[in-house]
């Protein structure tokens, strides 16, 4: 047993926690501070932690507290991702917080806490730690969703989210307890070796697994556990929606991927089929329901559900290539593309206060750059070339087909086709329909800058993915040794 754990390995989490406390304290103690300053401080802090983490932790392969907390390339990859997304979301929120919220410190502080939760989720190798990290994330999100206190929609969304979130947590916890009851362990590696030693799968264990899948299914919004997503995406303040759809989803997938690849790999025959069905249903329902949406945030909610279906295929086809594909699509679709779409939606909302799809009519004349960027994002979501979505989907689908699921990939391709229809309907509003109000929209420099960076990233991932893929392959090797 290790005498003293190497606390130095925890410093990224500790630093972000300290940053969160600092932001909260500054908000109290220096009331005259400009609201924006807190946002810039938080973003700069996250960026600094990102730089330090990459510089000092890349390539480390160590564990703390007997495997409860792992420092490897997989966790580092996700930490970097969360820090980047956190930075972007905070910068995206600055204008919104300025206009709509009274307590910027709470907003930024809670986002920072949730970043800590996500970082631990990606790094944990044990179910209870994972549970605690997930709760830290979820509680932060409950507050964030309801943070626009004078907006009844936001309050309603917050309440719904708490109730359903608690329900899903209960499922997850119950599943964990059943698993523990049968196997007597909660560490991923121990679960794996116990499963390997078993001749047949105990029914109780199967129930436990199913409950865990259901609980995690809630968190990633997989059908049939997706009902909360559209309402909450619509009601939450838009930057929070962006954060929900990007970061919390990525964190849940970090946990899912490590849990299935490390702990449950020996029992792959038991759950692979369940995930395959879940994936097929999720993408189909998500895409079909998306067609009927009138609100842009609900549209993105359903399109996100569909994308969760694609990502779940990567878990079902568990392999190094499948994991690469999942991570690649997660970065390409969720992180860059969805963020870009949300920057446009936020910029539009800040100026007009509207978020129906029909409100985007004539956007190509009112704000050409916004229209172009949103089109790029939508084309990327639909998986058309030059944009990230084409390359990442191609990679993910190829990887899944390789594991013998060509038919599932066929379903996914048909789904992509369906999704193209409703993405084109948004593009039609922006480019073809005339604007009811033809005034030009001014986009603040900060949002324009963020958007330009994101669009460039979308194109870069689309045409020159090898650097990103090298990082992803290194991350995968930490959970699935070649």
């Amino acid at each position: 047993m290790q005498a003293l754990p190497n606390y130095a390995l925890l410093w990224p989490e500790l630093l972000v926690t300290a940053l969160a406390l600092l932001v909260l304290a500054l908000d109290f103690l220096v009331p005259k501070l400009r609201k924006r300053a807190l946002g810039y401080l938080s973003a700069a802090g996250l960026a600094a932690v990102l730089a330090l983490s990459l510089a000092f932790l890349w390539g480390r392969q160590e564990s703390l507290y007997e495997g409860l907390f792992l420092v490897d390339n997989f966790s580092l990859f996700f930490k970097a991702l969360f820090l980047i997304v956190g930075t972007f979301v905070i910068l995206m929120s600055v204008d919104y917080v300025d206009q709509h919220l009274e307590h910027p410190g709470e907003f930024y502080g809670i986002i920072l806490f949730s970043v800590v939760g996500m970082m631990v989720m990606a790094a944990t190798g044990e179910l209870l730690t994972a549970y605690i990290a997930l709760e830290l994330l979820s509680f932060s999100l409950y507050v964030l969703v309801a943070i626009a206190r004078d907006n009844p929609k936001s309050n309603e969304a917050g309440l719904k989210y708490v109730l359903l979130g608690a329900f899903s947590t209960a499922l997850l916890l119950y599943g964990i307890s059943l698993l523990y009851g049968v196997l007597g362990v909660t560490r991923f590696e121990d679960i794996s070796s116990k499963l390997q030693a078993m001749d047949s799968i105990n029914p109780t264990l199967l129930v436990g697994l199913t409950l865990i899948i259901a609980g995690l299914g809630f968190k990633v919004a997989a059908v049939p556990f997706h009902m909360w997503a559209p309402d909450i995406y619509e009601g939450a303040p838009t930057p929070v929606t962006a954060y929900l759809s990007v970061a919390s989803k990525a964190a849940a997938f970090a946990l899912v991927l490590r849990f299935f690849a490390v702990a449950l790999a020996p029992a792959v025959d038991q759950w692979a089929f369940l995930l395959v069905v879940l994936a097929a249903v999720t993408m189909t329902v998500g895409n079909l329901v998306a067609i009927a949406q009138r609100n842009i945030k609900r549209l993105i909610a359903y399109s996100s559900i569909a994308h969760v279906g694609y990502l779940l295929m990567g878990v079902a086809a568990l392999s190094a290539l499948g994991s690469n594909g999942l991570l690649f699509h997660l970065v390409g679709y969720a992180v860059t593309t969805n963020l870009a779409a949300f920057v446009v939606i936020i910029a539009f909302f800040n100026r007009t206060g509207k978020e129906e799809i029909s409100d985007f009519a004539g956007l190509a004349d009112r704000a050409p750059f916004l229209a172009m960027a949103l089109s790029a994002a939508l084309f990327s979501l639909a998986g058309l070339p030059f944009f990230a979505g084409f390359t990442t989907k191609f990679y993910l689908f190829t990887a899944v087909a390789r594991e013998g699921y060509l038919w599932l990939v066929g379903i996914a391709m048909v789904n992509s086709l369906i999704s193209l229809y409703y993405y084109l309907m948004v593009i039609r509003q922006m480019y073809i329909e005339p604007a009811s109000d033809a005034s030009r929209l001014r986009v603040p420099a900060l949002l324009s800058g963020l958007l330009a960076v994101l669009v460039l990233l979308i194109i870069l991932i689309g045409i020159y993915p090898s650097p990103l893929l090298r990082a992803i392959e290194a991350a995968t090797r930490a959970i699935i040794p070649a």
Partner: protein, 499 residues
């Protein structure tokens, strides 16, 4: 010139793409500069395609101007380009139609910048498909060619009024995009299946070519390739997007889409289906030739029933693409060569047709052939060009359509005589509707409404004259093209016969 030769094909894709990128940064309020720049890019592409045609060493045949770099080693994807005798004519075709389309767009005043950016992207996709030897990039460019279509038709297109109902441009655009992407779904599934079956090492066409797929596998996946690419080639019964889409599209887009893009479909069947799945090709070609014949006859009959001038041309495209499919399906040297030549010939001819319809519609704002009467009296040049296009279409000797169609017919008669007869009947129907149309629209008495009609502008005349020149040139001297095509068609057919 060796630097140019070593990077020729990358350059030929990069020129329109770079043109699109550069145009994005043009100020929107300088339409003249935008138009001139687009024309320069178009002419440069023409120059490069002519250079490719002239320097391709036809005695050797096979793939030339090779270039390859790794791109994603994990999946075995690389940037690998080369052209053979089958692709060179198609590149030349693209190089001719692109500038013609750009010059014909001289009167695009609404958002010219966005228009040309999207048009250049479209052509980047087309050229990319023709030069790619890596299936990933082939698919990449194939989808890229579809991407700009929705906006090109939706923003700059026109709706058609049928009296009782209106076919909106949005409808045509959406239909076209969804049909084509649906086709690409089938293609993609087949591509990945081949990649898996061949050992998951490479998307390189030449590597996959060496993998011998089992007959059962080939029989299962050839139809996916055939129908998937066939959708874009206007294969019956998946052709309905073509008239609706092409009619709704603005002139230059119809020219490029019907002229060049539909050829991607036939090319895909040839390059991916016939090369990689030779056994499957042998098994399924009898089906394809039946569908191709239906294309010819059904397209011609449909064209006869249209009142809208542009729909006539749209359905005639469906009919003429049928000859391409028939020719490919004969698996017989003359037939396949004829099919490739028909791709070239039909590409130029349809581009000319759509350009002419564009000119007429621009002057008269009418496309109803019951209203248009005796236009030749006022629009002499337009009428003369229309006669050339029409006679090519019905296969008059001395024009390119004759050479291509006669080859296809000989090939078909050698293999499926009955279908050959039907094909000839299709050509006869074409003669009926084309001659009737020309008699009415151009050579009847001049309608009162059209007394003050101006003829085609000088810039339009120039662009269309180039197309006419190629129709006549290939009609009189098809050998330079056929020599290229024959060598590689022979190699291909040997491979299929050996399967």
């Amino acid at each position: 010139m060796s630097l140019l030769d070593n990077h020729l094909l990358t350059l030929i894709v990069a020129v329109p793409f770079g043109g699109a990128l550069a145009l994005i940064f043009f100020p929107s309020d300088r339409p003249r500069a935008i138009h001139y720049f687009a024309r320069a890019v178009g002419l440069l592409t023409l120059l490069l395609s002519v250079y490719t045609f002239a320097t391709y060493w036809s005695k050797d045949g096979g793939f030339q101007f090779r270039e390859s770099y790794p791109w994603l080693e994990g999946l075995g994807i690389g940037w690998k380009v080369a052209v053979d005798g089958i692709t060179v004519p198609l590149i030349l075709l693209t190089g001719v139609v692109l500038p013609a389309g750009i010059f014909m767009s001289w009167n695009v005043k609404h958002r010219p910048k966005d228009f040309f950016v999207l048009l250049m992207l479209l052509v980047t996709g087309v050229l990319g498909v023709f030069v790619s030897l890596d299936l990933f990039f082939l698919f990449f460019f194939y989808e890229l060619a579809v991407l700009p279509m929705y906006l090109l038709i939706g923003v700059w297109g026109s709706s058609s009024d049928f009296g009782t109902f209106i076919r909106t441009k949005e409808y045509g655009a959406m239909k076209l995009v969804l049909y084509l992407v649906a086709g690409s779904v089938l293609v993609w599934v087949a591509l990945v299946a081949m990649w898996v079956e061949a050992g998951m090492v490479s998307f390189d066409l030449e590597v996959l070519e060496k993998a011998s797929f089992s007959p059962g596998f080939q029989r299962l996946f050839f139809p996916l390739v055939m129908v998937g690419f066939g959708v874009l080639a206007g294969l019956w019964p998946f052709h309905t997007w073509s008239p609706d889409g092409h009619v709704a599209a603005p002139t230059a887009v119809s020219m490029l889409h019907a002229g060049v893009l539909m050829k991607l479909g036939a090319y895909g069947i040839l390059r991916v289906g016939m090369v990689l799945l030779p056994q499957g090709a042998q098994d399924w070609m009898p089906v394809l030739i039946v569908f191709g014949t239906i294309n010819v006859v059904y397209g011609a009959i449909s064209a006869m029933g249209q009142r809208d001038l542009k729909y006539v041309v749209g359905y005639s495209s469906v009919s003429h693409m049928g000859y391409v499919l028939m020719g490919l399906a004969t698996l017989e040297p003359l037939g396949v060569s004829g099919a490739v030549l028909q791709m070239f010939s039909h590409g130029i001819m349809t581009a000319l047709f759509f350009a002419l319809v564009g000119v007429i519609y621009d002057r008269t704002h009418v496309r109803d052939i019951t209203v248009l009467e005796g236009l030749s009296k006022r629009m002499g040049v337009t009428g003369a060009f229309f006669v050339v296009a029409g006679l090519t279409s019905l296969g008059l000797p001395g024009l390119s359509g004759f050479v291509a169609e006669i080859l296809v017919f000989i090939g078909t008669f050698r293999t499926y005589p009955l279908l050959g007869v039907l094909g000839v009947i299709g050509a006869a129907i074409t003669a009926v509707y084309i001659l009737r149309l020309m008699a009415k629209v151009f050579f009847g008495p001049l309608g009162d409404r059209w007394k003050g009609l101006p003829d085609a502008a000088r810039i339009e005349t120039g662009a269309m004259a180039v197309l006419v020149f190629f129709l006549v040139l290939v009609g009189l001297m098809p050998w330079p093209l056929l020599r290229l095509i024959d060598v590689d068609v022979a190699t291909l057919l040997q491979r299929i016969a050996g399967a």
